[in-house]
Symmetry: C2
Subunit: 185 residues, 2 copies
């Protein structure tokens, strides 16, 4: 596995030429999932943010008052080779660590449950400033939070335990390549 | 679920005699899924109805204009014994057949894709007037729609090919019992 330390500087200074560099992780994942779906490789869906509906005008089927709710599960789930796959995706601007308050307690409970029941579960974390995207298996994530009181996961833990997802074009984030490795174990 | 005022009243007044009759299939399934989750048996989620958000007041995080959207997948998916499970649930008042216009073309495509990729996929159909609830495997559903131009599936086809789900209390709709049978095959 290579850790392109030199690359980040190049990336930053050449920002103008990389037209897609500004794309969010969510957008990249949606495009990747679309790519997988079009090739009949996997069916992974982003769950819509839960919304609490307060007021509906039924005559014209219009929602007139609603609020965003806190998700109790991860954002993505779906089917890959008959297996259940489940993950959460988060970005951080930090250059040194991933702040754990990005993951709600309900989501942590969910991640534990899925892992215990043989679902393939992981986090995809992007350090946007460093332009590094990692896949961290749920097992390693749980191991970390069980072993420490710290409020963040240092980058060094990602370098040690997570898989670096290399940038690519089609699909943009080829995380199933890493899932294949995980499934082999 | 919020229904227009008229319907709510009817449910309340008739609730006394038909103890479970007034419950919707969706409500029964949500309770059953909760039951499974609490016992660490399965993690099955209802996807929220997709909503097209038009106007948000970001100052107070309030959605001021939005509309219900057509779902492109089934309503429920999740994890059971490591496997990916996926289903659609529908009620009909008809005593003789299930009208196929209840299932959108996008959903039919989704059901085919999931089945082809070894997901466990089925429909749960309740004939509310008859108080009969069936689990119809996606394979049989696809077989039917491929073999006919008819716009509905007759009750006789359910009696022949589907599994009758008996009423129970805990969980209310014990569909995993039938999934176990399907997985054995």
């Amino acid at each position: 596995m290579n850790y392109p330390n030199g690359m980040k500087k190049i990336n930053l200074t050449h920002n103008i030429t990389y037209s897609n560099r500004g794309m969010s992780l969510e957008n990249d994942l949606n495009l990747s999932n679309k790519y997988y779906e079009e090739r009949d490789l996997a069916y992974i869906y982003k769950k819509p943010t839960p919304i609490k509906i307060v007021k509906v005008n039924y005559k014209i089927s219009k929602i007139e008052e609603a609020y965003f709710d806190t998700p109790s599960t991860t954002d993505y789930n779906g089917l890959y080779k008959g297996k259940y796959l489940d993950f959460e995706a988060k970005e951080t601007k930090s250059k040194t660590s991933f702040p754990l308050d990005n993951i709600h307690p309900h989501q942590i409970k969910h991640i534990k449950n899925i892992t215990k029941n043989d679902g393939i579960c992981f986090l995809i974390i992007r350090f946007t400033t460093l332009n590094l995207t990692y896949l961290l298996r749920a097992e390693n994530f749980i191991e970390y939070i069980n072993s420490t009181e710290r409020k963040s996961i240092p980058l060094s833990y990602f370098n040690e335990k997570a898989y670096l997802i290399k940038d690519s074009l089609k699909p943009r984030i080829d995380y199933l390549k890493i899932v294949d490795k995980i499934m082999e174990v």
